[in-house]
Subunit: 317 residues, 2 copies
């Protein structure tokens, strides 16, 4: 089968054997996959990654222990957890200390014609839900994670800093949950997507407001974002960190301590929270698709996804 | 009167005029003052400070609008707040945006024979409470601030990283509130102080435990502390930042985001919380006094306070 291979920053496409299917796992045939900023970070050396990336996908179940799953269209939780430890029992398998992670840590990813995942990771998709929309479930769940971690009071004004793919999904999720959101970004055409859903948007031209919000989400994806987000936050307020930046960031802790800010690191979320938002069309994600490529042209697709102004690039078999 | 003067890293003692007493302020005669790590940071250039430092003190009221205050022995809140803004109305004058801060921001400090503070900042001390103990109220309030900010569940194990003055006070406060505390430090003689109060202590010899605590306090006062504290914290756990470090700290945000840690910056606290702990002898602070100097020998006192292994150095008229 065809599989994308990442090594030392180079993206290639290889012909590799079909992955074996362990007991409890399903063998999945890829329908569509999305390139995420994390994939671009992996290309830059994050996690010292070598292998097949890809963790946003929709696929068809080809083989499974559970007969009823075969033939179903599914999305999947990306953390392969032990199901027995304290974290797994608390429903937080995404923090299981022995987990592997699809396309990120020790489990081959979704940028391949076939992939495997434990059956318990799968979410069967409703027939009416297009794969082009369902492929956003994973990043949308990451956006939903904010509300799983932080009890933001109703009607609280929230600033979202950054208008990349994740920034847009975060603004859309918070907006769909009834929060007044103001999104700050540098791309008018991206901000237009959240503006159409009712998010207040601001194209950054001059200085950002200072000490203006109790809640600020940093989704800039760049090292400067944390500093900017902290400066926008009122004393005793909260900055939610959604940007994974590779490497060390020079960071002044003094404003955090003097203003007694809370910083909350936030990563993957639960697809159960994300599915209704797409299914009931509370969020229109398909407008974020910038391009689609066959797997065989993955090097071009990665280069395209890394360009300024580009949103979601899909890979298809 | 004699007043300590800090400028470009040099500590001198000057003869200066008595400070004027504005309406609503009290004129205070110093009885004893403590040198804090913040004073040593100010000496190193933190806040670009020039002037008279000092914010831990016990003094006698010499003049005040309120006649009953005159002759009383007092400690004082160090933030001079407007008393009218939203923060002040919420009882958080220490975040008042127009505040000045005794010996730190635009208000001459306590390392002088006389100082002024608004009457509303003063706490009259019980007669039986020795000044050598009451001078710890300000840093003890800073230690208490942790419990004002974070709802730590009862009986939760807490790690305190660092065995400096503030680290010891934090361990003692958390211990006095019934939490099982384990303090990690590099000075056996300092750790002995918290150990005598029942704190579990560990002299750091090898690697620190990994992902071992839900709650970790970084009171190391060095840039490495935050990294070490984050590594000791379990996924979804909380690191409380009590170290003010001058300048930029190289910081890897990836573990914060991957493990979804919460970081809480923490600064000054309320003396009302600290007073009963000293008054009822729940905490024995006087064993932390390493030396005392007259104001006229402040340069020696600062040099002494900066030496490794030294705890509280007092300055007296």
């Amino acid at each position: 089968m065809l599989a994308v291979h990442l090594e030392n920053g180079a993206v290639t496409v290889r012909d590799v054997p079909l992955p074996p299917r362990p007991a409890g796992f399903a063998l999945l045939r890829l329908l569509t996959a999305g390139i995420c900023n994390t994939d671009l970070e992996l290309q830059r050396g994050y996690y010292g990654f070598t292998g097949t990336p890809g963790h946003e996908f929709v696929a068809e179940v080809i083989e499974a222990d559970t007969y009823a799953l075969v033939g179903k269209r599914v999305a999947g939780e990306i953390n392969l957890a032990c199901a027995h430890c304290e974290w797994c029992r608390r429903g937080l398998g995404r923090h299981c200390p022995t987990r592997t992670v699809l396309g990120i840590v020790n489990h081959p990813g979704a940028f391949a014609e076939f992939l495997t995942l434990p059956e318990r990771n799968l979410h069967v998709l409703p027939d009416h839900l297009a794969s082009d929309r369902a492929v956003f479930l994973e990043p949308l769940a990451a956006a939903c994670e904010i509300l799983d971690q932080c009890a933001i009071p109703p009607h609280e004004r929230i600033a979202v800093l950054g208008d990349g793919k994740l920034g847009l999904l975060i603004a859309l999720v918070l907006n769909a949950h009834g929060y007044p959101v103001r999104q700050y970004g540098r791309h008018a055409e991206k901000l237009a997507i959240s503006a159409r859903a009712g998010v207040e948007t601001e194209l950054i031209a001059g200085p950002l407001p200072t000490a203006a919000y109790e809640w600020v989400v940093d989704a800039t994806g760049n090292p400067e974002g944390l500093r900017a987000a902290a400066a926008m936050t009122r004393p005793r307020g909260t900055v939610i960190l959604k940007s994974t930046v590779h490497g060390l960031v020079p960071f002044d802790t003094a404003p955090i301590i003097v203003n007694e800010l809370t910083l909350v690191g936030s990563r993957c979320g639960r697809m159960e929270e994300a599915l209704p938002l797409i299914d009931h069309e509370l969020i229109h994600v398909e407008q974020m698709i910038s391009a689609r490529y066959p797997l065989s042209r993955a090097p071009e697709a990665f280069a395209h996804a890394a360009q300024r102004g580009v949103l979601k690039v899909l890979l298809e078999p």
